[in-house]
Amino acid sequence: MFRETEIVKDVSSIPPFPQDAVQGGGGAGDLIINVGPQHPATHGVLHLVITLNGETIKKVEPHLGYIHRSIEKMCESLTYRQFIYVTSRMDYLSAHINNHACALCVEKGMQIEVPDRAQVIRVIMDELTRIASHELWWGAMAMDIGAFTPFFHAFREREKINEIMEETCGARLTMNYYVPGGLRADMHPDFQKKVKEFIVLFKRKIDEYDELVTGNIIFINRMKGVGMLSKEDAVSFGCSGPAARGSGVHCDIRKLYPYAVYDKVEFDEILETGCDSLARYMVRIREMKQSVRIIEQLIDHIPEGDFQAKTKAVLKLPKGEFYTRVETARGELGVYIVSEGATTPYRIKFRSPGFSNLSALDSMARGSKLGDLVAMMGTLDLVIPDIDR
């Protein structure tokens, strides 16, 4: 799987790019195709060099860097208030949750007590984001395996969430709503009403998803037994989120290391033991229902009070290292800040879920058909800027 590295003395002996990519995998009769950087199945600009024998995949080698925007490096030159908004662009489908992780880390460093109201609204927002992300995943994954209509049906509900977000946060996708110490603004007066309306709609429509996709015989055949990721592999590749929970790994950060008010609400950690694409699919579908459950518990019990703690105008984290982790829609996001006591972080490292999940792709894909690859990538739910950062 890994290319052997050796010291190359003669530079001219390094083969050019395509041959380079297949060393160790290529043989007679092998077909090497490049999927990406522009390809509808990669959901962005991932580049996969695939060695095929006929239709059977022998090897998948992801090439990264096509959307490397050096967010980590960039954060070093931004203040603690400023750097949070950049992380919305990292995993843009769970923008709120990324912001949450960064805000938590700064709050941990500054030892700011976040008011209850802010915490509850944050959790509601996080769960709405998770539903929106899973909706998009559902539509895009169905599109990957060739069904177009689910995409449009998924966006119908997603637009409702976007409306709610826009009303409260002022933007549809990259909201920038969380600030260290709480929220930028209080929730919109209509927020609770809109969320309840959405929940009613969503509960009605999620059954249609099963009719359209989940029960479909073609879909089940495309998903069952495809992209096996054993529990041991999931752990050793560092997979997290629904991708790992589909293999039965107990890894929900909301349960393991509760943050905000997750320890006060009741919800189940979804575990499937199928280890295949169908299991990962079912985890996400069931997770959406759990998110609705969390929102239902909180939406009528938003405590009164401030939405933002009193903070200094200029934030300076004390010297030291701080790490927080949250559960994004894709898995575990860790934020690691090294502070030298200045107004900007000395070093920031994000542990993004997509990168680890992508690393499992090769072992999942070997031996399966080319058509399975898009199904696997669909259920891994890759967001490429999250991988490259």
Partner: protein, 158 residues
């Protein structure tokens, strides 16, 4: 038994397909479920959420006065240097020199609508407008000067 299972497979497969077709057929025949909003036709009735962040504007009142003192707090708060404040020195009636806003340069092409400048502004001189139709043929048009010609600072704003 093999043959029974085979026939069962066929029928359950066909049934699952028919369930999906019933769903799409329902939407095909029920046009009231269509949720399309016809954008250019609904421009007059389109209402943006009042918190929607479209672009930064400098508020002017009817006397062509704004509240910007040129303190550059927004410029400092902006993470990607979208705002550039150019100041000049006005001579007050008392004969003192006073710093005042000359040009409020706003690079819409860089702006990410993060709202940090609005929070930073001590005099609430700027706010987010709800406009969104920012498409132009020339990139240079996106660099805007927000203060209107001959506008000056409102009395009493420090």
């Amino acid at each position: 038994m093999f043959i029974v299972k085979y026939i069962k497979d066929v029928f359950s497969g066909i049934k699952s397909l028919l369930v999906g077709m019933r769903r799409t057929g329902y939407y095909f025949t029920h046009h009231k479920e269509i949720i399309t909003e016809q954008y250019p036709d609904n421009r007059d009735t389109l209402v943006m959420a009042d918190r929607f962040k479209g672009e930064v504007v400098l508020l002017h009142d009817e006397n062509n006065e704004h509240a910007c003192t040129g303190c550059t707090a927004c410029e400092l708060a902006c993470p990607n240097a979208t705002i550039k404040i150019v100041t000049k020195f006005d001579i007050t009636p008392e004969g003192k020199k006073k710093k005042a806003l000359d040009k409020f340069v706003y690079h819409l092409e860089l702006c990410t609508m993060c709202n940090l400048c609005i929070i930073a502004c001590p005099t609430d001189a700027i706010k987010m407008a709800q406009t969104f139709e920012h498409s132009v043929y020339d990139r240079a048009e996106l660099t805007k000067i927000l203060n209107k010609p001959d506008s000056k600072i409102r009395e009493g704003v420090e």
